[in-house]
C-alpha cells in the first residue's frame, strides 16, 4: 500500500468534549493535502489527534502501516512526523539554534549538525537569527523559525497548522514556494491547514473541507473551486 497516513472513522475531542465525528482521510507518499474549514471546525484537533494530544474516542490513525492510537505522544515524531503547531510553536527562552537542536531531539546526536545545515539551506530566512532568543523575534520571523524547527526531525510526513498566519503576502508566497520546493525535491508528504487557500491551490493534490467536525467534501483543488456553493458558504471565496 502506498498510503502513508490513513485516518478511519476517527472520533476525537478533549475529555468530555466531542470535536471530530467519523473523519476519514488519506495521504499517500509525496502528496500534499489541504484541510480547510471555518474556525473551530476541528482542524487543529485533527492534527492533534495524530499526536495523541487530543483524545481518540474511536476509529484509527494508521501511519505507514502501524496503528498510532496506542502510541505515546513523544514517540510519534520518531516515526517521521514533524508538526508545526498553530500556537506555542517555538521555545521563547531558547535561542533559535537551540530551538533547531531541540527539533532534532529524536535524531542521533551525530546527525544534528548535518541536518541543521540541510534545513538552513531550505529555509534561508532563518540564518540571520540563529543566535537570537526566539522570544524576541517578530511573529513572522518566529513562524519561519517554527517551520524550520518542524523540519529538523527528517519527517516523512509534515503537519503544518496555518504556516502563513501572521505573515506578509510576500512572506506567505515565500512559504508557499518553500512548500512546493519541499514537495518536489524531497517527496515529503504534507497535511496543511491553511486559511489562505489561494496561494496553495497549485501546490496541493487534494483538499478536505471540515465543517463542525465532519468532512463534507474531499477531492482535488479544482473540484473544490468549481463548487461555488461550498466555496462561498464555508470559505468566503467566490
Amino acid at each position: 500500500m502506498n498510503n502513508l497516513l490513513k485516518i478511519e472513522n476517527l472520533n476525537a475531542g478533549y475529555g468530555g468534549i466531542h470535536v471530530l465525528f467519523d473523519v476519514n482521510l488519506d495521504c499517500t507518499r509525496g502528496e500534499a493535502v489541504a484541510i480547510v474549514g471555518p474556525n473551530g471546525s476541528g482542524k487543529t484537533t485533527l492534527l492533534n489527534s495524530i499526536f495523541r494530544l487530543a483524545d481518540i474516542f474511536s476509529g484509527s490513525v494508521i501511519l505507514d502501516g502501524t496503528e498510532m492510537q496506542k502510541e505515546k505522544s513523544h514517540k510519534v515524531t520518531g516515526r517521521g512526523v514533524g508538526y508545526l503547531r498553530q500556537e506555542g510553536n517555538v521555545f521563547p527562552g531558547l535561542t533559535v539554534e537551540e530551538n533547531l537542536k531541540m527539533g532534532a531531539f529524536n535524531l542521533p546526536k551525530g546527525e544534528v549538525g548535518e541536518r541543521m545545515e540541510e534545513v538552513l539551506s531550505l529555509v534561508k530566512p532563518v540564518v540571520p537569527f540563529l543566535r537570537r532568543t526566539a522570544g524576541t523575534l517578530s511573529g513572522g520571523e518566529r513562524e519561519m523559525v517554527a517551520l524550520a524547527v518542524s523540519l529538523m526531525c527528517r519527517p516523512k510526513l509534515l503537519l503544518l497548522d496555518e504556516p502563513t498566519s501572521g505573515l506578509s503576502p510576500i512572506a506567505s508566497a515565500q512559504i508557499a514556494e518553500l512548500i512546493k520546493n519541499l514537495k518536489d525535491k524531497t517527496r515529503l508528504s504534507m497535511l496543511i491547514i491553511e486559511q489562505n487557500l489561494k496561494i496553495l491551490f497549485d501546490v496541493v493534490d487534494k483538499c478536505y473541507l471540515l465543517v463542525s467536525g465532519r468532512i463534507i467534501f474531499s477531492g482535488g483543488p479544482g473540484e473544490l473551486q468549481c463548487d461555488k456553493e461550498l466555496m462561498r458558504t464555508y470559505l468566503g471565496l467566490a
Partner: protein
Amino acid sequence: MASFIDALTYSALLGLMGFGLTLIRRTTGVWNVAHGEVVTIGSYVALTATSFLAHSPYFYLPLAFLVCAGVSGIIFLAGVEPIRAKGASSILLLVVTIAISLIMIAVINIYADYLQNVFHLSSKNFLFARFDFTLLGQMGILWAAWAALAALTISYYLVLQHTRLGLALRALAEQPTLAVVMGANVKSLSLLSWCLAGGAAGLAGCLFPMRFQCHPGVGTSMIATMFAVSIFGGIEKMYGPLLAGLVLGFAQIYGIDLLSSWVGPGVIPFKDLIPMIVLLLTLQFLPEGLSGFVGRRRG
C-alpha cells in the same frame, strides 16, 4: 564569629532545600508542599543508619540522597502524575502534595514513635554535632553543606547548558506540549527532576542534625521558609536558591544577632519572621525573584 559560621552553614542548607522546590516547580509546574517531609526523611535516614550501623552521618550522605530521591520519585509517580495526566490545575496539584505531606507526616511520626518505644532511641530530638570533624579550624558541616550545594548547582547548570538532556529540560520548562511533539518524554524528564530534587533535600536533611536540633516536624516547620527561598531566589534560574539561601540564611542568623545587639535580645525568637518579611517584599517589589532581577539587569 560563631554566628557568622552558623549563618554560612544554614544558608547552604536552605539553598539545598530550596533547590529542590525550584527544580520541581520549574520543570513540572508544581509547588511541592511535601518537600519539607522529604527533608525530614533525610534526617531520619541519618539517625537510623548512625544508630544501627555506626559510622559518621557523613558516611550515609549517598544513602540519604538515594532514599529521598526514591521517595520523591514515588511521590511524583504515584501521587502527582496520575492526577496531572487528567489535566488537573496547578492548585489541585498543590492539594495533592498537601495530601501526600499529611501521609508522610503520619509515617514519619509513627516511625519516630516506633524507634523510641521499641528501640529506646531518642528519636524525637537529636543532634549529631559530636560526630563532626574539623577542617581548617571550622566544623565539617560548613564544608560539607557548601560542597554539596555548589556541586549540585554547578553540575546541574553544566548539564542544562551543555547537554541534550539539559536542552530538553529547559524546553520542557517553557513549552511542555511542544517538547512532547519534538520527542521529549515528559514523564521521565519530570521523574528525573523530582528524584534529583528529593536527593538534594535528602542531603540537606542528612546534614541538618550535624548542627541543628532535629525532630519529626523539622522539615514541616521549615516549608514556609523553603518557599520563601524558592520564590525570593526566583524560579527562572537554578542559582536562585543558592543566592536566596545566602541572603535569607544570613538575615535569619547573622542579621538577628546584629539586631539583638542594638535592640536587645527580645528580637531573637522572631528570626523566623524574617523569611516571611522577605517574601512579602519580594512579591511586592521583585516578583521575578533575585535571579530574575539579576538576569534582567544583564539584559
